[in-house]
Amino acid sequence: MILSSFIFIPLLVGLLLFFVQQQQLVKALSLAASVAVLAVVLYAVYLPAGHASLSYSTSWLGSINSNFALLLDGPAKITTLLTAVSFVLIFLATWNNNYANSSSYYALMLLSMSGLMGVFLSADALLFYFFWELALIPVYFLCSIWGGEKRIAVTFKFFIYTFIGSVLMLIGIIYLYNKTADQSFAWNSFKAVVLTAKEQAYFFWFFFIAFAIKMPVFPFHTWQPDAYETSPTGTTMVLSGVMVKMGLFAVIRWLLPVFPDMSDKMANIIIIFSIIGMLYASLIAMKQDNIKRLIAYSSIAHIGLMSAGLFAGNTVAYNGVLVQMFNHGINIIGLWIVVDIIEQQTGIRKMSELGGLAQQAPRLTIMLVIVALANIALPLTNGFIGEFMMFTGLYQYNPWYAVVAGISIIFAAVYTLGMIQKVFYGELNTAVKVVDLKAMQWLALALIVAMIFVAGVYPKPLLQLGEAAGQVIATTVTK
């Protein structure tokens, strides 16, 4: 029942919000809902392993053997925790933003949260597909209604792109369902399914392409910078902080255990593509003048490393990915908060038109520098531990890959520090006026910075959440 509440609290509050008119009440309710979910998630995450509340199943579609089955294992703990934390941060950081028709905006945000929770929890393939799509629909409306210019075309591209991936996955699910021994959609039956080499070769890609589009891995990333740029910043935070984790998470739960042989065989090519994506995105990020696009490309680079880590096939890399999934989400939301503050107050996104903001907004600058350093994965920040573990794992898989991928660390430093320099230092652009942080934004950034340092200095609790899972994954793939 605890697990269902992850999904149903945001769902019900979200539906309720459509009918609430006062703007302050809407904001307060959505924040309260996300805090409530966070509380429940924190309680569930620290339940001892094997506790009865960590899985839940009730009959849904009896005749085709599909259940409303939820499961909170290691990876799911990380991602649900990330979702809950992210939404609290997002609602705090955008407290002062005013949206036209705000009740629908917040309602859709909560609905997307509900869909995301469903994706991370479901242990039934059909249910998983259901939530996979459901997380997408609210985001589509959010981007298209409250987004920037060209929003209709951009979000449409995003939607069609991911929808094509999803339908391929649906065929895969249906096919595998027919191959399961007990004709069921349960995760365990899917893991036990026996496929011929040829079938594996087909259906591995059906699943992987759907996930790769969502992550996004090179060459399926083309929807992403446009979508991040045009979406309202609150939604961009959901997209970049949490939704990209859907792809990674789906690989962990639905790809590696179901197609272990094929994952092993195809690891090489996927890692190569991931590394190409890292370098390619980093190079483009260095050339960007638009802050939002810069962060979007930096996100592609980071995700590339995580997807490479997933296929490296050893425990270190898996644990690195699990930790990094959480930390990347926190860091990138921090970056977007800063960008949002700058954009809300100056209306400018181009770095060349900004400059010298440090003199006007010292506190904002300090916060951004910390978040940016975490984004480059400096030791003592939370980004370090995950990246270090992933590079170690990649090195074990093939040293040369680690070397080439390592170049992207240098690139990351170049574009991130370049951004700080152009925006905050240098000559003050006098036409631009920035007021320093407001209370709620300060609170959100302070929380992020606190998490950056805590996880950077003492990452053990976070590692423990995923650790057991990392070993399990590694053994299934290399069995």
């Binding site: 009896g62 005749s63 085709i64 209604i145 339908v167 065929i171 249906i174 027919n178």
Partner: protein, 459 residues
């Protein structure tokens, strides 16, 4: 059985009732009441014996499958009368006659879903078709309507001729009109039988507007008065499809392997032509005409697979497609402008209706949480259950579903993301809005609990 007898009877009642009525909306009221009565009578038969027990001499059989589909079509018909009654009154002066014709069509639907004899199939299809020719041309002062009626009549009678020829050949091959004879004889393949089956297949493909026999559809749907297009595209199409399924249910074993190949080609063509042409339409009405071709492609999966999944899929598809399409056409009939631009800013004009339309469009596109998803799901699952041999067909179907998102979402984009010039609300009663929301709620409910409707197939 109830549907056949009372459908015809109530049609006559409706016709003579029209003579007594001074005002048009009295006819609508009477028709709605009679429709509800018909629905109750059909539901009665799900649990009890029919009111009149008739010895049909093996010409008809009542099955749960047929009854359930009747039930869905009657429910759709009732919703259609409630939503579109006002628009039917606007078509012309003979309102009671229009309703009477629709009751006759329902009698034909009853035959088409329960026949076991090819002669009965012919009767059923003709009883459905002839009133439709009249309805298509009902707006007799409008040249487009008359042209559509004539076109439909010519093409329709041509296909009927082909069907008759096919039935004659089948009779030559098996010596019987009975569907059961196909399978029991296990039949030595004869040229007569196979040729006959193919001719009947062509005729039925025409009736459900499957490619390459679909050419009449866009013109007829576009030309006919919008209210009747709605009826034609949903209830009639579903009925023809059920008849199609019944026809090949018995004969499947005869031409098994080759049969699937033929069906696969027809499905692939139908899906491709329907979806790709729909992308280029500027008028929502024409887009819906092509979308109905595309959706027929999906429904034909039931014929391709001929298994339980397919039958359950037809039930869900009938509900999903009829509810969504009737809702869309009901609103479209009240619009001033049938192009996509006519829907610009619609969410500000009519927020409630816009929400309902969005749910209908999502359902047609097959997005989860709507019954449209499960209907597509069951169809593809039916194909998958026949083995992996036709994987390409499943992939093609799903990609076509992705294409369909493009044109369905254009309406959503116009409604929500664009600003329109017209700001006045639609001239509809508040009850219309609530009813539409209610239908949308059914679409969502069945999207979460498809079992609720499927359980009636088995108990």
């Amino acid at each position: 059985m109830n549907l056949i007898i009372f459908g015809g009877l109530l049609g006559v009642v409706m016709m003579f009732g029209g003579l007594l009525m001074k005002q048009k909306h009295q006819a609508t009221l009477l028709a709605t009441v009679l429709m509800a009565l018909l629905l109750v009578l059909n539901s009665w038969e799900l649990y009890h014996d029919p009111v009149f027990v008739v010895n049909t001499k093996d010409m008809l059989e009542t099955t749960r499958f047929g009854l359930l589909l009747n039930e869905i079509m009657l429910a759709a018909g009732l919703i259609y009368f409630l939503l579109s009654g006002r628009d039917i009154e606007k078509v012309g002066n003979h309102v009671a006659e229009y309703y009477a014709l629709m009751f006759f069509i329902f009698a034909g639907v009853g035959i088409a879903t329960s026949y076991t004899n090819l002669l009965m199939l012919f009767l059923g299809i003709e009883i459905i078709s002839i009133p439709l020719y009249i309805l298509t041309a009902a707006d007799k002062r409008n040249l487009k309507s008359v042209e559509a009626g004539l076109k439909y009549f010519l093409m329709g009678s041509f296909s009927t001729g082909i069907m008759l020829m096919g039935i004659a050949l089948i009779y030559g091959g098996t010596g019987s009109f009975l569907l059961t004879k196909f399978s029991i004889l296990g039949a030595p393949m004869s040229y007569n039988l196979v040729g006959g089956m193919l001719l009947v297949l062509v005729a039925m493909a025409f009736k459900v507007s499957a490619a390459p026999f679909h050419f009449w559809t866009p013109d007829v749907y576009d030309g006919a008065p919008t209210v009747f297009t709605s009826f034609m595209a949903t209830i009639v199409k579903v009925a023809a499809l059920v008849a199609f399924v019944k026809l090949f249910e018995g004969s499947y074993s005869i031409i098994e392997g080759k049969w699937q190949m033929v069906m696969a080609i027809i499905i692939a063509l139908t899906l491709l032509i329907g979806n790709i042409t729909a992308v280029f339409q500027q008028s929502v009405k024409r887009m819906l005409a092509y979308s109905s071709i595309a959706q027929a492609g999906f429904m034909l999966f039931a014929l391709f697979a001929m298994n339980n999944w397919g039958k359950e899929g037809i039930v869900l598809y009938a509900a999903a497609y009829s509810l969504a399409t009737i809702g869309l056409f009901a609103v479209l009939a009240k619009m001033e402008d049938y192009t996509f631009n006519g829907f610009n800013g619609f969410s500000k004009r009519e927020p409630m209706i816009a929400v309902a339309l969005t749910i209908f469009l999502l359902s047609l596109a097959g997005i989860p949480l709507t019954v449209g998803f499960f209907s597509k799901y069951y169809m593809v699952a039916a194909a998958a259950a026949t083995g992996g041999k036709y994987l390409w067909l499943m992939i093609l179907a799903m990609l076509c579903a992705a294409i369909s998102v493009y044109y369905y979402f254009r309406v959503i984009q116009a409604m929500y993301f664009k600003d329109g010039e017209i700001v006045s609300s639609l001239p509809v009663a508040p009850a219309f809005r609530y009813l539409l929301i209610g239908v949308a709620a059914i679409v969502i409910f069945l999207g979460v609990m498809p079992q609720w409707i499927l359980q009636y197939l088995y108990f």
